[in-house]
Symmetry: C2
Subunit: 410 residues, 2 copies
């Protein structure tokens, strides 16, 4: 296993109990030996749910399972396994989701249509669901309201640290809680750039409201990050609301002003988790923030940002601590969005390197070179055609990425 990413947070956050949420992790031997690989989350009756799923046309069986369940917006349990993605597994993949959901439905006492599933790991190998079915009773027997670190650890694949985030939020006079866990470190790109992320709150919110909040938040977080431009077949982001927290005013519409603080805190949890995914980008040594301004539209700005963020030449230059801004120009040029070569401005580490389409006169590279040695690299590009902007995040491309991915299955 590779060492912990140098960009990892100092520690796993303190995560409070969420009323109506009980968790347990177990070792079912899906693929890995000597580690937990199945997470079971039981949710109180009445829990609402919304999701954002991969747009991949070769989505996994559990993704299709969730897609079919999200219309109703009710969930009583979540089962996640690591080690095998149950993707491109044909009919056996559908049988595996069915078997898992049936087994968990019996334990929890609900229909299988209220069970949500996610799988992550190798694609194209049949998922041995019988191992999950055989072990899930034992996992269920250990449900507690405190197992957040264990939950985050059980869903890891090539992750080098477990990912969690937590906030509290005010709705009216009540204080509700929001906890999230995530996994992901490669095959990360919009849309949607998740990997797996699961967020839970004790607020009482209808599924229609959750859907809007989650979609907006995902665009500014998981859909604004990229590690390697590869979109997983398994990307799943789910938000569950148990309604078992302190009583708060009834909320019927996502535009309700009393939701403002909750929205802000949910966005913080989503962005926190998304940036932890980038910080754990396979082989990542540096977190790169790319701010694009002066674009024709927000969508154009994001596409230009992602063209820069996904460029292997930009990412390797930054890995080499080289302020090779010429490659940023190249990436802007290939994005296919309007940009004015002769009005472009590029800043790195807050220092203007080029403006009006050429390097600034008497440019002193020393302070930029110093910035490039740091762990967090800041790139600003103004493309000189409009007033819209966007921010995207990525990491550098290093030998570590090759090490991890040239030998993942063995």
């Amino acid at each position: 296993m590779p060492p912990k990413s140098p960009l990892a947070p100092a520690s796993f956050p303190v995560m409070p109990r969420i009323a109506g949420v009980r968790l347990a992790a177990g070792a079912c031997g899906v693929r890995y030996k000597d580690r937990t690989d199945v997470l079971l989350v039981e949710l109180a009756p009445g829990t609402t749910v919304a999701g954002v799923l991969t747009k991949s046309l070769t989505a996994s069986a559990p993704v299709e399972w969730c897609r079919a369940r999200l219309g109703v917006g009710r969930g009583r349990a979540l089962v996640v396994n690591s080690g095998n993605a149950n993707a491109f597994t044909g009919k056996s993949g559908d049988r595996a989701t069915m078997a898992t959901a049936s087994a968990v439905g019996k334990l929890v006492g609900c229909t299988k249509r209220e069970i949500f599933l996610a799988s992550t790991g190798v694609i194209g190998e049949p998922l041995p669901a019988e191992r999950i079915v055989a072990g899930i009773g034992e996992v269920h027997a250990h449900l507690t309201d405190a197992a957040w670190p264990a939950a985050a650890a059980a869903i890891m694949t090539t992750d080098t640290f477990p990912k969690g985030a937590s906030r509290t939020a005010r709705i009216g006079n009540a204080t509700v809680s929001i906890n999230g866990i995530a996994k992901g470190s490669g095959m990360i790109a919009p849309d949607m750039a998740t990997m797996l992320a699961f967020v839970f709150t004790d607020a009482k919110l209808p599924a229609t409201v959750l859907r809007r909040l989650l979609k907006d938040g995902a665009d500014r977080s998981f859909n604004s990050i990229t590690v390697d431009s590869d979109t997983s077949t398994s990307d799943t982001l789910l938000l569950f609301a148990t309604g078992k927290g302190p009583a708060h005013p009834r909320i019927a519409a996502p535009g309700d002003a009393r939701l403002r603080d909750f929205k802000a805190k949910l966005d913080e949890v989503l962005l926190d988790l998304a940036l932890q995914v980038v910080r754990d980008g396979e082989g990542a040594q540096k977190l790169i923030r790319i701010s694009v301004t002066g674009a024709a539209s927000q969508a154009a700005a994001r596409r230009i940002g992602l063209a820069i963020a996904n460029s292997p030449l930009v990412k390797t230059a930054i890995a080499g601590e080289d302020a090779n801004w010429g490659r940023i120009v190249m990436a802007v040029g290939k994005a296919g969005e309007k940009a004015n070569r002769d009005r472009m401005r590029i800043r790195m580490g807050g220092i203007t390197i080029a403006s009006r389409g050429e390097r600034v006169r008497n440019f002193d590279e020393a302070p930029v070179a110093e910035h490039m040695k740091g762990r967090e690299i800041d790139v600003e590009v103004d493309v000189g055609v409009g007033r819209a902007g966007a921010v995207v995040w990525t990491c550098d491309l290093t030998h570590g990425y090759i090490d991890i991915n040239a030998d993942y299955r063995s």
Copy 2:
């Protein structure tokens, strides 16, 4: 300098003289020490020219220079420098092209509008054109009709071997010759995926005919290769016809049946050069051929092929000699083109791994694993929705790519 690519051809090809073409390489010290870095090609009066140039919106000054000259379709000289791309150099870039073209026009005895220019190397640094101007007289004094290997060597940057290709073709009863040279090993992707490539023939063909032949040939060669998905600001492919070869029937239209053999041989030269570029992909250890069939259209097939070819996860898996076909499924899924997950078929090394959306029963990985150890990897994907196909080529993504690109400027 990295060692010669293991995928390099055994030797530089024998290239005949092309009547009306004289070449010389010189060392003008643009950036490199102790090597040639400027190529001058003088073309006989009456030479016609066509070109395909990068679609980058941040194209280099010499690309814009060529774009403005191609309408007339006449060329008397070509000047290429390595070491500096003269891209994103603002007004100083335009002054540099003007100065170079003027100096060469005087030597050759033509207007500067008949001079074609190309530059390759670092982006964003002012091109010291005065060094080219100072040295070009000396280069001109050494023009010969035999300097093809030296020409191919002078335009190299991170290339590990010089690239040349040559064919003869029949037009009527006459045998004409076609010689091409190219450079490129990183920042290679459609459109258009060139790097620099220059092709010369002694046939007598109007510029309108050259344009059509070159565009068609480029789509099946340079626009079907990718090394790292990055499109250069400098991609330039030029085709010159001197008309000084053996007399042949007059050709007025690209559809003329008497052009059939010439077209085929031109396509061979273009594909030969394009594949040499992939074989010299930065850090490449394996040449990967990806054939996509069963697609809704040829364009869709090519986009799916390029999604596979550009996937860092596919490329690193192949670098690790791992037949990780799950990542191919992932790449098909993210291409955004129609594909039927449950009718897909994947073959590697001619062996069917998956069909009808899942791994074949009793799949024996041993012969595929053997294929993966070779230098040339063959991937076939049928996406199960239509009858169109396309072939693209790429190379694997290795530690060598990181080594080269994390430290290019220093």
